[in-house]
Symmetry: C2
Subunit: 498 residues, 2 copies
């Protein structure tokens, strides 16, 4: 079956309920859209600087802290802290670690809910060794253990999860090169920082962070440990997204001027547990306003624009709607005396952020997870340059001097010429996996980066730049729609990075 971009954009999620589409309840590959496990970890967020606080309290430099934590927490049973420190020391000053042999990559998985379990399956298929898994729910752990045992001729992995911080015992193991962090979003940064400082490469689910402090913590952790940190942003690997990126790099769009992107996905059902208490999504929406999930939309566009590689995001302004969609949903779902009826959410139905880049590109970024609508076109992208225009919503591209006069063409028209080499090589494997191949490539590229010794395909600078839209848009809204500067997390390196 030949690739059909129109079908891709407009019909991919046709007929899925919102819960199926997020993949918490369904295991169908196309059911796992952008979701993480809702129940895997308690949704109260740890202090964003808890690790640093512990470190400061002990008055230890970072490397000693890691060794100390390792010894204190697990008594050295499966740990060789000297080796860990040594490995860390070798790579501390550079992210491009030396290449490694072709033996299997050894990864731990933190969070094996619906999303983590699905990625675990794909990792096992890609030949990864998984000696340890972590989840606070025994039932989820059991599923993961059985999957791994089946792939390892009966050998079961070590398990962690006796409390929310038990993941740190997993991190202290010396038989893991890397970890996948697939827990609720509020935990991603603190776990990733802990993992990096324990000498592990990190593949983090999206978003990378929810506060500016977490963003900087991640940057510092990567810079100081030299480990590979990759954001598991699967939309960046979608076929049309990569094809447009390829076209941009080949100059087809000329000078870029404008882009739109959005994540518009009715996730109201996912804000609540079955009993009406809030999931981590619900708590995030209760406690924050702004764009609370920016990377699926912004990530691909930022890559097209070369953000942190010749251009950078410099400022944003946010505006939001009233609150109506969630109230409508709650009134339908919960009886009048239910506690959910009294909930107040800070996040509005829809939030739009306008972002300006150093080169003068304007990005229109929308986030809406509370509006009643079907799921096709959950994410969308458009790009305008001086010589071409693209809009995923209509599967339309127009190229000056190539397209017939004043007619949109299906993107697929140009597939032979501009399909990304990765897709040409791995189409068959990619098309078997979730998120239209995105998940395959995220894992494939992360493992390749480890084998090559870096660099990260979606590195910490990109990860935190995209994720920082969450706290920055909240600041803009809280201050009445003020234009807010976006930190340069590369500290000047964006001008020369490639």
């Amino acid at each position: 079956m030949s690739w059909n971009a129109r079908r891709f954009w407009l019909s991919k999620w046709k007929g899925l309920s919102p819960i199926e589409a997020v993949g918490c309840l369904s295991e169908r590959p196309f059911g796992r859209i952008f979701g993480f496990e809702c129940l895997s970890f308690p949704s109260s967020t740890p202090s964003t600087t808890e690790t640093e606080a512990m470190q400061a309290k002990n008055e230890l430099p970072r490397r000693e802290f890691i060794g100390s934590m390792t010894a204190a927490l697990v008594g050295g049973s499966a740990v060789n802290s000297a080796a860990l420190g040594s490995w860390l020391g070798q790579d501390e000053s550079t992210q491009a670690a030396a290449g490694r042999s072709t033996e299997p990559v050894r990864m731990g998985i933190i969070g094996v809910g619906g999303r983590g379990t699905y990625l675990l399956r794909l990792l096992l298929e890609q030949g990864v060794e998984v000696p340890a898994v972590c989840d606070i729910r025994p039932a989820r752990l059991e599923i993961a253990v059985n999957l791994i045992a089946k792939a390892r001729e009966g050998r079961k992995p070590a398990t962690y999860g006796k409390d929310p911080f038990d993941y740190r015992h997993l991190l202290a193991r010396d038989d893991l090169e890397a970890v996948l962090v697939a827990t609720p979003m509020q935990w991603h940064a603190v776990m990733s920082v802990d993992a990096l400082r324990a000498g592990k490469h990190v593949l983090s689910e999206v978003s990378a962070a929810v506060t500016l402090q977490e963003c900087w913590d991640l940057v510092h952790a990567v810079e100081e440990t030299g480990r590979i940190y990759m954001l598991a942003e699967n939309c960046c690997y979608w076929h049309p997204v990569m094809m447009i990126r390829n076209m941009v790099r080949k100059g087809i769009f000329g000078e870029l001027t404008f882009a739109e992107c959005g994540y518009v996905h009715d996730c109201r059902a996912l804000a609540f547990e079955a009993d009406g208490s809030l999931t981590w999504r619900g708590e995030l929406s209760r406690d924050h306003r702004g764009n609370l999930y920016p990377t699926h939309s912004l990530g691909p566009v930022a890559q097209w624009l070369g953000i942190n590689r010749g251009d950078r995001l410099v400022s944003l302004v946010a505006a939001e709607t009233k609150h109506a969609g969630m109230r409508h949903y709650i009134e339908k779902r919960f009886p009048p005396d239910h506690p959910a009826r009294k909930l107040q959410f800070k996040a509005a139905d829809s939030t739009t952020v306008l972002i300006r880049t150093a080169k003068g590109v304007l990005i229109d970024l929308r986030y809406d997870v509370k509006s009643a609508r079907p799921h096709p076109t959950t994410v969308y992208y458009s790009l305008q340059g001086t010589t071409a225009s693209y809009d995923s919503r209509i599967d339309g591209i127009w190229i000056e001097g190539r397209s017939p006069s004043y007619q949109w063409q299906p993107l697929d028209t140009y597939r032979e010429e501009f399909e990304d080499p990765l897709w040409k090589e791995h189409r068959a494997a990619a098309e078997k996996t979730g998120h239209a191949g995105g998940d395959f490539f995220v894992l494939h590229q992360f493992l390749e980066a480890i084998r090559r010794g870096g660099p990260s395909p979606i590195d910490v600078y990109d990860a935190v730049t995209w994720s920082a839209v969450t706290p920055l848009s909240e600041i803009s809204l809280n201050e009445g729609g003020r234009v807010v500067e976006i930190p340069d997390f590369t500290r000047g390196k964006w001008e020369s990075r490639s």
Copy 2:
């Protein structure tokens, strides 16, 4: 042929060049998209308060001023200033004038370029008497005169146009009830104000005004004269637009929260005369930044939202791209030593304005007339409510409890139930005219309003509220993206108007 909304949105302008699409060079009905005559009047704009300045100088109250101007300018040859003053006096305090007989409406036409001539044809077809026309170009006048003579058994209209202000002699005639203003945009407000104060009903092409002072001048002129003022916003009468409005009024969308609209149309060719000098469009773009053409996009959405009828626009913030598209165009079109190469335009390639309403709806409004792209989807609209969602770009509607689970449906699915009564009644006539029927209904509704004695279907409050986005977005941009308050031109009446 049954109506097909998908074709309507995606293929209406397929294959037209930008110039054809604007209709300056083509007389094909579908070629006249949103355009006015480029050459009809000099593009230097008169002082926005010139009329008032003249009035103040003469120290005359308004009614005497009109009589005085009439006598002074045309010597009473075709004027009965007493009758004019009397007519004005009768209706001065109310817009809802008494009904009139079924005799033909008598209109003067100011501006008979491509756009004005086309509307003149439609007016003649609708039985309007046109005793006088005005244009500063004899060749355009001659075409109009011949058209009118043919429709009036050889009787030719009076002509005006010896200088840019000769339209005031036309306004002084007492055999005109109304005028159509179809001149370059910078002239609309001053001519409309003059016409209202001369006792004429006014149908004004879009936009209504380009400065805030002009907006208020129009409001005051309508309130003080009681004449009917209508903005000729044809997009408001498009079949899908009216159908959505009908659905909103019937509660299908529930509580409204978010809307998008845009005018994205490569009009770069229209900024220049054949010799490379600037047209009025070019001058507007040279002298101003912001959304310089907001009504085709905002008008329909504002009607859906009940703006000035229970809700109102309260604030906006604007952001813009770099300048690249026009430079690219100029470099292709003009040789290196051409003066056009040195032009600097204030208007960016693309400008996005986020507007917030009193009820908390967010409107995302885009304006882009300088980007290389084809013309289908030149305008687009989306609307989100608590129980339905619509997006013209994909011709998709979804209605809670009606649409199949999580699938967009073509809007046409609901035509039988929600087609606007005007379309049911006048489909055959409307489909023969330009802008997909919009032009037919604009004229039809204006004439009906005159016959009924009002009210105006798109009145001065709506006209200036939509048009004020131009100067307000410029203020926002000039002040670094500041949130700018939008004046309440109804002065509180928006809460109770229906």
